[in-house]
């Protein structure tokens, strides 16, 4: 099971940066394109850490924040980490409001859907999925961002608010632990 931080700079939706810049200039259709294309990414991200039944509302709330905060996005920085940082904040706000209800609903059974295959080897992607399901929610978030979606440590740092060093250390420890568990 390959769990390296691949450091790839190619990201699905790099053209969203240009679309967001156009929306800032007043092109509403550009935002509709961003929503149409990026909402599934936000949904996949939120499904990792929230009960399935609240995810659609969280996706909608995330894009509401994107509309209201559009002036804080700077076109010289990548769009996806900014978007997922907004999604994360939306998630944390909701979690704080509904902590008690969530603690009953969140569990391994709350995530019936699996992410799209992250590699051409179905056995490898199944192993990654199984590994993710064994992790605590915060660890699952980091692992999903790094090993499924392929974000770099600086990007994950921007999304989660952890320092880049802390991200690297946690990913390294997780990978080491998961490899050790696989050998047993």
């Amino acid at each position: 099971m390959d769990l390296k931080d691949n450091g790839s700079s190619q990201r699905p939706g790099d053209h969203w940066t240009g679309l967001m810049a156009r929306y800032q200039e007043g092109d509403a259709a550009a935002f509709e394109s961003i929503y149409g294309e990026a909402s599934s990414l936000v949904e996949r991200y939120l499904r990792r850490m929230a009960p399935a039944n609240v995810v659609p509302d969280l996706v909608q709330e995330t894009f509401l924040h994107v509309i209201r905060a559009r002036h804080t996005y700077r076109p010289d920085s990548p769009f996806v980490p900014w978007l997922l940082a907004v999604a994360r904040h939306t998630l944390l706000q909701s979690r704080r409001r509904f902590a008690r209800r969530w603690s009953k609903e969140i569990g391994m059974d709350a995530y019936p859907e699996r992410a799209a295959a992250s590699s051409s080897d179905p056995l490898d992607s199944r192993r990654v999925e199984e590994a993710l399901e064994r992790l605590a929610p915060e660890q699952r978030e980091l692992a999903w961002l790094a090993w499924v979606e392929g974000f770099t440590s600086p990007e994950i740092s921007r999304i989660t608010g952890l320092s880049a060093g802390a991200v690297k250390v946690r990913l390294h420890r997780m990978a080491k632990r998961l490899r050790a568990e696989e050998k047993e």
């Binding site: 691949n6 790839s8 190619q10 699905p12 939706g13 790099d14 053209h15 969203w16 800032q24 200039e25 007043g26 509403a28 935002f31 509709e32 394109s33 929503y35 149409g36 294309e37 990026a38 909402s39 599934s40 990414l41 949904e43 996949r44 909608q60 894009f63 509401l64 924040h65 509309i67 209201r68 905060a69 559009r70 002036h71 804080t72 996005y73 700077r74 076109p75 980490p81 900014w82 997922l84 940082a85 907004v86 904040h89 992410a115 799209a116 992250s118 499924v148 979606e149 392929g150 740092s157 921007r158 999304i159 608010g161 952890l162 320092s163 802390a166």
Partner: protein, 233 residues
Amino acid sequence: MTEGPPGGTAGTRKLPPTLQDALRNNRSPVRPVLSPDRRAALLGAFALIVTAVGIGFRGMRPDLQELGTWNWVETALRVGFGLTLLWMTMRSGEPGAGPPASWRRVGIISGSLLLLALVEWWIPLEGHAPFGPGSAGWRRGLLGCWPAETALAFPAALASGVLLARAYPLRPIFSGAAGALGASLLADAAMHLTCPARVWTHTALVHGGAVAFVTALGGVGGWLIGRRLRTLP
């Protein structure tokens, strides 16, 4: 890494009604705000100018020479910590650019310890009766130093709040309080160089009280910013 067309495999999705309404109310062009570092630089420069004006207006304390190096160390700590807080506040106004959680925790703990140390509680009360509790000097200090420090902190605290309101802080109360605390520490640095009192009760209650008051106002300002953000169309 997930490959395939941008946005994954879900294809295009239509905007739900809530987002359609929000988009209708938010389609005017906007100018992106300056980067957090640039805003912090401008705010920091403004705060330092206000501090220098305050020192010039009040005049240096007469016992500056006998206070020695430690006095300048204390001043530098106040200025350094104040500017750092202003920088972290500006970063917190941009989603994804806020300081890491570990920095916030270290900042709160070290800031609290720093403020405790700067009270100079080890200086004995005896021999400093003019500013001791209940004395005429105490009342003069309360009516003089407290409003002076508050007035000195206010411009930079207000500027911090305005810049924050223009951005999109995800923790507005914390950000508002942090910016106000940063401005207060710079004002406190000016007061430290100009107020002759060396009684810890005066430092803690009058000057510390002014810092706490402005910080609390900043938190209230942050709460108002958060309320406004939640009710935006």
